[in-house]
């Protein structure tokens, strides 16, 4: 009896296990194997593996793509979360049309990124786009957006005669366009999650704070924020990983691929280019391994340094 039970257990997970082993586990082993070659594990791929990694560490385009990704994540994640908490806070009360607002804010989340990239590319069009047209109404000179390789800090510090370059020039205007779109796209999801977090705050906490005469900001800082900090922590992690994996907008919106002077080339796009445009599959594996390590460290880092400041009830 128990033997037959054992057998059916394996049988039932077999289809799932097979797919997982062939299309997840094995590919990951392949990617990891590349890294061991670097430390001199014997095998026919030894020299190739070593070459891939040594090439990676001196590849300026790889560093540029990492730098771009860094700025992209550092801008997208906090902006999205702050704006989302603001709107979630507004929605966390009895007001008419609450459901309708939620529906509208969430709408971009279910929309395909390819389609919204096409539309935002049109919005950002430097000559005919509605964004520059709106700027025109207010007498502001339009930007070249997706064609503009100048760094944001470079522009901001120009009046002070400081000229940061490379990484320190910050995200380019072109990358800023992608950042704006990403914030717009992700707000809905974060609002819903933040709203769920806010609904955990017991109503009497607010009552008590109000009776004590605390200001709105003080209530938010000392009552709301500590209670929703696990939610924020969760959002920071998931949004960082999500932003780190961004590919589609770079592919659809930027011309030449990777943007002006490569300033919108995010690391996943660089991997794609190496693997499937230049067919350097081994080299792409090395990039993939670095991506894996960074995402892993990212989660660990956030666990250690942010979780300490998170208040769990």
């Amino acid at each position: 009896m128990s033997h037959r039970k054992d057998f059916s257990g394996y049988l039932f997970i077999l289809p799932a296990l097979l797919v997982i082993l062939v299309f997840r586990f094995y590919p990951i082993l392949q990617a990891i194997r590349m890294s061991f070659f670097k430390w001199g594990m014997a095998g026919p791929l030894y020299t190739v593996g070593l070459k891939n990694f040594s090439r990676l560490f001196i590849d300026p385009k790889f560093y540029q793509s990492l730098g771009n990704t860094f700025w992209y994540v550092v801008f997208v994640v906090p902006l999205t979360i702050i704006i989302s908490i603001f709107f979630a806070q507004l929605l966390n009360q009895k007001i008419r049309g609450r459901g309708a607002y939620r529906t509208i804010y969430y709408l971009p989340v279910v929309t395909s990124i390819v389609a919204i990239s096409v539309v935002w590319k049109w919005i950002f069009n430097p000559d005919r786009g509605i964004l520059n047209a709106t700027f025109g109404i207010f007498g502001i000179e339009g930007l070249k957006w997706l064609n503009d390789a100048r760094g944001v800090f470079e522009i901001m510090l120009a009046p002070l005669n400081i000229e940061p370059s490379g990484f320190f020039a910050g995200p380019s205007i072109a990358l800023l366009a992608l950042i704006i779109m990403a914030v717009w796209h992700n707000i809905g999801y974060c609002v819903i999650i933040a709203l769920a977090g806010l609904q955990n705050v017991p109503g009497q906490y607010y009552e008590a704070a109000k009776i004590d005469g605390a200001s709105t900001w003080k209530i938010f800082r000392h009552v709301t924020l500590p209670i929703i900090s696990p939610t924020i922590f969760y959002l920071i992690i998931t949004q960082s990983i999500f932003a780190f994996n961004t590919f589609t907008p770079v592919y659809v919106m930027t011309q030449p691929p990777g943007g002006p002077l490569g300033t919108t080339k995010l690391v996943v796009f660089y991997l794609y280019e190496q693997a499937f445009k230049l067919w350097n599959l081994g080299y792409a594996n090395a990039i993939a391994f670095v991506i894996f390590i960074i995402i892993f460290l990212l989660t660990q880092f956030q666990r250690r340094f942010i979780e300490r400041r998170v208040h769990y009830e």
Partner: protein, 270 residues
């Protein structure tokens, strides 16, 4: 004046910005190319060029792309239902050696970001000779660990008495699944299904990599291709974007709660 008035103003401004790109997409899709290129632009189209939608369908084979997407979505969703239900049942209800270790292995696979296994997966698929076929679009995604996880959680809550009764009636495991477990898990299965539909409909990177020929394009890779081929014809591009997003947006209005739930569960979007 209502004291909630400022709140409404702020929320309305937010809603305006969220909707603006959608409005602009539909508005542009109905303009002539001449009108679309006018600067400053007209807010509403002067003549409603519904013909743009037909023209977009004529220029590239969107009907084929829709068909491919439907086949891919139906295939993966169907297989995910089967693999997840069976695996979740085994993990939740059966005892076998190494069960918990295997489950941990499954969960660990979920933590791996997609870019990490793109290149190796491609090599495997080409060794199988699956590149540019539906097999490459469907089989690697026929298992969804998160669905297994969700279903397992749910199956554990089904009362033991039901299983005991089924045993007395002499039902085998498959009969238990089809007659007891599945009928009691409709809501969660719908969540799993909706998540599959949304993520397949919007899938881009994978189809882009594993298919090459025009006849194998999905709507997303098809739109990206169209956007490169017709990079300045914005009315046609917006028309295509509209009819590609419309099915999901319509579905969204009906099953909004489930969609939000399925995303809240998974956290990560691909």
């Amino acid at each position: 004046m209502n004291k909630k008035f400022p709140v409404h103003i702020l929320l309305a401004i937010g809603a305006f910005w969220m909707l603006l790109p959608f409005f602009w997409m539909v508005s542009t899709s109905l303009k002539t190319q001449m009108e679309a290129l006018r600067f400053p632009p007209t807010i509403f189209p002067q003549a409603l060029m519904f013909v743009n939608y037909l023209e977009a369908f004529r220029q590239v084979d969107f009907s084929r792309y829709f068909l491919n997407t439907i086949i891919m979505t139906a295939g993966t969703t169907f297989l995910v239902f089967i693999t997840s239900t069976l695996a979740a049942y085994a993990f939740a209800r059966l005892k076998f050696w190494g069960r918990d270790q295997l489950f941990m292995l499954f969960l660990a696979m979920m933590m791996i970001p997609v870019p990490v296994y793109l290149a190796p997966s491609y090599v495997i698929l080409s060794r199988f000779g699956w590149i540019d076929t539906f097999l490459a679009l469907i089989i690697p995604w026929s298992v969804n660990v998160f669905s297994i996880f969700l279903l397992r959680q749910h199956f554990k809550t089904i009362p033991q008495e039901l299983f005991d009764a089924a045993k007395i009636d002499g039902l085998n495991h498959l009969q238990v699944i089809t007659r007891i477990v599945v009928p009691l898990s409709k809501a969660i299965l719908i969540t799993v299904g909706i998540f599959q539909i949304v993520s397949n409909w919007n899938a881009f990177l994978w189809p882009l990599i594993v298919t090459h020929s025009d006849s194998m394009r999905t709507i997303q890779t098809g739109l990206a291709y169209f956007a490169q081929a017709e990079s300045t014809n914005y009315p046609l591009l917006c028309a295509a974007s509209t009819f590609i997003t419309a099915p999901l947006i319509i579905m969204y209005f009906f099953v909004q709660k489930q969609i939000m739930e399925s995303y809240a569960h998974t956290g990560l979007k691909e």
